[in-house]
């Protein structure tokens, strides 16, 4: 069977609809401001938020905060990726190990780890280490779980080919298991990126002394609502860029063709 040549909806349609969505959101925002139907404490003037954003971008303070936040995200994700891939690989080697730890990893996957963030503050203080560790802990579980599941669920027919063609254990791991489980591992890494970014911002808002999350929380507690929104807007841009970068790096070139 040949794969479908259609790649789903046309790219231009998708992008047009995305732009339309943004227009609707901002249009609704402007309309709400104009009619006064939503309090400015909840939804400040869009113009005020945009001018506040431009102001913030001129300040070195916000760039320093953004640098801290991005560093925490990347460091947290990096630690989680290395540890998650390693643990997932080790656990997948023996069915007994997989059986023992599968539930634990699945539980860690869904557990709201922010509940235990205060413990991270106790262990590592309010500085960078606690944010990095918290982000790493959040991102670790989906990466480890998906890696273990992916490597454990390699179709027997591929392993049979390896056996029939005399593949060594290392060749089987590298060329067959890693290849067959790549979509699931990449999916875990993508989830890990999202978890790391969300966790860093959350951690900075819950207890920190630097970073964009901390800045947004400070502005909001001082009722500087346009500034809080402006910081969030900057965060949205940064996290979108990070996610796009990771999506590009983690893209499977053969994703659409695989059966």
């Amino acid at each position: 069977m040949r794969p479908s040549t259609s790649a789903g909806p046309r790219r231009t349609i998708v992008w047009s609809l995305r732009i339309l969505f943004v227009v609707v959101v901002f249009g609704g925002w402007i309309l709400a401001n104009a009619t006064g139907s939503i309090s400015p404490i909840i939804l400040p003037q869009l113009g005020a938020v945009l001018s506040e954003s431009i102001e913030l971008l001129r300040e070195s303070e916000v760039w320093a905060a953004a640098g801290i936040t991005v560093f925490e995200m990347i460091a947290g994700f990096g630690i989680a990726a290395v540890a998650g891939l390693l643990v997932g690989f080790v656990l997948s080697r023996k069915p007994l190990r997989s059986a023992i730890f599968e539930k634990l990893l699945a539980w860690g996957y869904i557990f709201p780890i922010s509940l235990v963030y205060p413990l991270f503050l106790i262990w590592a203080g309010v500085g960078l280490p606690s944010k990095i560790l918290f982000a790493a802990a959040s991102a670790f579980f989906p990466i480890a779980y998906n890696t273990m599941k992916g490597l454990s669920a390699v179709p027997v027919r591929y392993l049979k080919v390896g056996q029939a063609f005399g593949a060594s254990a290392q060749a089987t791991d590298w060329h067959i298991r890693a290849g067959a489980s790549r979509p699931m591992i990449l999916s875990g890494l993508r989830l890990g990126v999202s978890m790391a970014t969300v966790s860093v911002v959350l951690a900075e808002m819950l207890g920190a002394n630097a970073g964009l999350g901390f800045m947004a929380q400070q502005a909001s507690s001082q009722f500087q609502i346009p500034k809080a929104y402006a910081v969030v807007l900057i965060l949205v841009v940064i996290t979108s860029l990070l996610l796009w970068l990771m999506e590009t790096l983690l893209r499977d070139p053969n994703e659409k063709l695989k059966k």
Binding site: M1, P3, R157, Y158, K160, F165, G166, L257, K259
Partner: protein, 272 residues
């Protein structure tokens, strides 16, 4: 149609290899009431095209897997030129599976090179050989595609190229055309088997099709179930190349009728 091809090395090899199956018995479970196959004796000479046919569950695939060193005999043994096949060695006997089993995450050329790489070949050399082998099966222009971009028939050709790239003494094919539609099955089957025959490639091919078993074979091995045993060996002395006209001859009809009666279950346990 594929281009004309030169005779491959296998036909020029001076020493004639023999694959011997001696009093083979395989039990999947030591406590099983009866073995999967028992008392199997078979000799296959290099250059022979042997088809194996029999009812479902008679142990055809078990026999093939054992011949390729993928199953350990419970008793008896498999010997290639007198040396026991204790483990898979694709340079001696390479497999082609029914479901192709190509790696969808690798390009076609990498799939073909993979067997060579597993066998310790240098990457560059393996890729060169893989491209040459793809040319041999008429897929040179598909080398840089992914398997998912090819039809089922093309994928099976790639699987054949992957096995042939190792220049195996014996090619073990487990219902290689079973997943294809009737038309592709017939045309690809005829084309590939003719190529393999012309190249002097030794082949053991399992099939469920009476026509395939007769048309492609120098010799047909008929198996029966409960337990799996060889019940008959039939030599097909029709010269090569064979045209489709062979299928309309009285000799073909006689062979077909004989096979038909031989593979019918004769007992209730076989019917199961």
């Amino acid at each position: 149609m594929l281009p004309n091809r030169t005779v491959r090395e296998t036909k020029e090899t001076k020493m004639i290899s023999h694959l011997n199956v001696e009093n083979l018995e395989i039990r999947y479970n030591v406590n099983a009431a009866e073995p999967a196959i028992t008392g199997v004796n078979l000799e296959i000479k290099q250059g022979e095209f042997v088809t194996v046919i029999g009812p479902s569950g008679c142990g055809k695939s078990t026999l093939l897997h054992a011949m390729g060193g993928m199953l350990s005999p419970s008793s008896g043994g498999i010997y290639l030129d007198g040396i026991e096949m204790a483990r898979p060695d694709p340079r001696q006997a390479a497999f082609v599976f029914q479901d192709y089993s190509l790696f969808p995450w690798k390009k076609v050329v990498d799939n073909v090179a993979m067997g060579l790489r597993f066998a310790g070949e240098d990457k560059k050399v393996a890729l060169e050989k893989a491209r040459a082998e793809l040319g041999f099966v008429g897929l040179a222009d598909k080398a840089d595609k992914y398997p998912g971009e090819l039809s089922g028939g093309m994928q099976q050709r790639v699987a054949v190229a992957r096995a042939l790239a190792l220049k195996p003494k014996f090619l073990l094919m487990d219902e290689p055309f079973g997943a294809l539609d009737e038309q592709t099955r017939r045309s690809l089957g005829q084309e590939l088997t003719q190529i393999l025959h012309d190249a002097g490639q030794s082949v053991v091919l399992i099939t469920h099709s009476l026509e395939e078993a007769i048309f492609w074979a120098d010799r047909i091995v008929v198996m029966k179930a409960g337990p799996g045993e060889i019940s008959k060996e039939i030599v097909v002395d029709e010269p090569w190349p064979r045209s489709l006209e062979f299928m309309t001859t009285a000799r073909f009809d006689d062979l077909r009728a004989e096979l038909f009666h031989r593979i019918q279950p004769t007992t209730a346990s076989e019917a199961k």
